[in-house]
């Protein structure tokens, strides 16, 4: 799971004086230089969307929506456009698209969350350990990370999903594994950076054991940049699931994911006859990823996480 994008928004607050024409001399009032670090309304809108979609997903079983697997062709019809009876229309098997989008959210969001959690836990701890212990362990994990990173991400995912049973669990693990290397390198770099700081030396000198230092001093500090990237990571994982679904390699069976819905709805005939079948999951996917990206970027900017040099 290579971080597919680095979106930098810190320049939104760059004061207008920094346009091409001029540079501000050093005897200028200091206000001009301050980049306001607030989360902004866009952040809260994004969070709002995410909360809404998560809530809807959690409440899916109790919401008054039709069963997503049920054929409604007798009531509504096959491939019917959106109407008051079926807000997002029906698909080729007569199923209600709106309901399927909500149920699909359950899986897609779960995958996103679980994959990131897996990556953070395993990648993060491996990275921290190697950054802390250095030596042969560090070289070994370094080579492991490098090997993992040498595989173009989707190819690794394809390899793994083709060889394993494709359950929700394994898909989450596969996507999580994609994240282990990038997260690992970042946490290693962060650990090294912090470990060199004085508060760690200070802890040493008062006799703290290494394990203690690792957990009490370093972990809280490393968690911050990691956490800031969690939102961005989720976006990548959800998109990756979509890509896998598209290739037919996502969760098997009747499980509904946005990726699978898009895949089903996007062959030529479907697109021409019933574009809404693909359109709505695409929209939801897009908005969710957009919200995750935007919020994640704001968080990153807020905590001032730069690309830590690896």
């Amino acid at each position: 799971m290579t971080t597919q994008h680095h979106s930098h928004l810190e320049d939104e607050e760059v004061p207008i004086t920094f346009a091409v024409e001029g540079v501000v001399a050093d005897d200028m009032p200091a206000e001009q230089f301050v980049t306001r670090k607030t989360l902004g309304w866009g952040f809260w809108v994004s969070i709002g969307w995410l909360v809404a979609i998560i809530t809807a997903a959690l409440l899916a079983p109790v919401l008054p929506i039709p069963d997503p697997g049920v054929d409604l062709s007798s009531d509504v019809g096959l491939r019917e456009p959106p109407s008051t009876e079926a807000w997002f229309g029906t698909d080729a098997l007569g199923r209600d698209v709106f309901s399927r989008v909500i149920w699909g959210a359950r899986i897609s969001l779960t995958v996103g969350f679980a994959a990131v959690a897996f990556g953070m836990v395993f990648g993060g701890s491996l990275g921290m350990l190697s950054g802390f212990l250095r030596g042969w362990f560090d070289s070994l994990t370094g080579f492991l990370f490098l090997t993992l990173l040498s595989f173009p991400a989707l190819i690794l995912a394809i390899l793994m999903t083709s060889l394993l049973d494709r359950t929700l669990f394994t898909i989450c693990v596969v996507l999580g594994v994609l994240g282990v290397a990038p997260v690992g390198r970042l946490s290693r770099a962060a650990t090294i950076q912090f470990a060199e700081r004085e508060f760690v030396t200070a802890a040493h000198t008062i006799g703290a054991k290494r394990g203690r230092i690792l957990i009490r001093e370093l972990l809280p500090n490393v968690v911050i940049p990691m956490g800031a990237l969690a939102l961005l990571g989720m976006a990548v994982a959800i998109v990756a699931e979509g890509g896998l679904a598209f290739l037919g390699l996502s969760v098997e069976g009747d499980t509904i994911t946005w990726g699978k819905m898009i895949a089903d709805g996007s062959d030529r005939r479907e697109i021409e006859d019933a574009p809404w079948v693909a359109f709505f999951p695409i929209t939801f996917l897009f908005l969710t990823v957009l919200a995750l990206n935007f919020a994640g970027d704001k968080v990153r900017e807020y905590f001032d996480v730069k690309e830590i040099s690896v």
């Binding site: 207008i16 024409e21 001029g22 540079v23 501000v24 001399a25 005897d27 200028m28």
Partner: protein, 364 residues
């Protein structure tokens, strides 16, 4: 800022004695969240060809903004320019001065390491103004660049043309910068703290070089510095700025021999010289520059002045003229009023603003 652009660079005016640069009540302000920041608040001077004006003050005094604004380099949508500047007879306030840059007016900067393009060869950087303003082709530009490098005193000039800035020493980089600035043969040069970032031993050579080049080319020059010692002997006239306002203005020797403003005096005293006994404490002026958005009423320097009296905190002193010597102070140095003021402060142990004054008259 208005869109007036000067179409063609005006011809050099016929009269060689007319001042090249006439600045009259020039003001520069910046709109900020808190209000208008008056970075330059009423500066007037004249500069003729071949003459050097030194502009002295601490950081925050407005000296850099003044010069960059004269050049027209600080341009932003929240900048306001008022007053008048005529360059060789043409009014340039509130205009786009791009047509002048490089060929009529030019600038050298404080830090040669950051002022030269790190990924461009030295020769190419010198060549740019040559091609732009003197219409040279590649070969001619190379030859001329070599000549220029020789003029600024760089050994093995041909070799240097193909080097990058980081391959040269600090002093050499500054010379290169001078060569670049003079390549277009400007009539007016702004030298913004040209030696501050350099080693003390190198400073003298650079300043000598500048003086020489100026004489040869009959350029007008403003030399900006925070060090009065540098200004002495290298400038014809001096302008002392503080908080955006002119504190004292006079021909250099007059200023040194008959210094009137307490700030000038303080600046002079803060220069460490070889005369001081070893291990003397450096004597910087305590306090910091004023807030230029909402400055305190009264004289800007009052909060740090050892002569300060009650009046200084409430009334703003205007420039008083004594021939071509101008100063803005109610209790000038070297006058009876000034001596009395200092005595008063010594006796009561503090200035009107509450700064402690020692028995010898020192602050703090």
């Amino acid at each position: 800022m208005s869109e007036i652009t000067i179409e063609a660079v005006p011809e050099r005016s016929a009269d060689p004695n007319a001042p090249l640069l006439e600045v009259t009540d020039y003001r520069v302000g910046f709109k900020t969240e808190r209000g208008l920041a008056k970075a330059v608040d009423g500066v007037t001077f004249r500069l003729a060809r071949g003459r050097t004006l030194g502009i002295v003050g601490e950081s925050g005094s407005g000296k850099s903004v003044l010069n960059r604004s004269i050049m027209g380099l600080v341009v932003s949508s929240n900048q306001i320019e008022e007053g008048s500047i005529t360059f060789d007879g043409t009014e340039i306030v509130d205009t786009d001065r791009q047509p002048f840059w490089g060929n009529r007016m030019s600038m050298i900067f404080q830090d040669p390491m950051t002022s030269l393009n790190p990924v461009m060869k030295v020769g190419k950087q010198i060549g740019e103004p040559l091609k732009l303003h003197l219409g040279m082709d590649k070969k001619q530009a190379r030859e001329r660049a070599t000549e220029l490098l020789t003029q600024v005193g760089i050994p093995e000039p041909t070799r240097r043309l193909d080097q990058y800035p980081h391959e040269l020493s600090g002093g050499m980089r500054q010379r290169v910068m001078i060569a670049i600035a003079l390549a277009g043969e400007p009539d007016f040069l702004v030298a913004d703290e040209p030696t501050t970032a350099l080693d003390v031993t190198v400073q003298k050579y650079i300043l000598d070089l500048l003086g020489e080049l100026q004489r040869d080319r009959e350029m007008a020059m403003t030399l900006i510095t925070h060090d009065l010692g540098v200004a002495r002997g290298r400038t014809d006239d001096l302008l002392v700025m503080y908080g955006g306002r002119v504190m004292e203005q006079a021909p250099t020797e007059v200023l040194f021999s008959a210094m009137r403003h307490p700030y000038s005096e303080a600046l002079l005293e803060s220069i460490p010289t070889l005369d001081h006994p070893k291990h003397t404490r450096l004597n910087p002026i305590p306090g910091s520059p004023p807030d230029i958005v909402s400055p305190p009423p009264g004289c800007r320097f009052a909060p740090r002045c050892r002569y300060a009296q009650d009046r200084c905190a409430t009334d703003l002193p205007e420039l008083v003229s004594d021939g071509n010597h101008h100063y803005a102070c109610f209790y000038p140095v070297g006058t009876e009023a000034g001596a009395e003021a200092l005595q008063t402060n010594i006796e009561r142990g503090q200035t009107a603003v509450g700064l402690r004054v020692s028995a010898e008259g020192r602050l703090g």
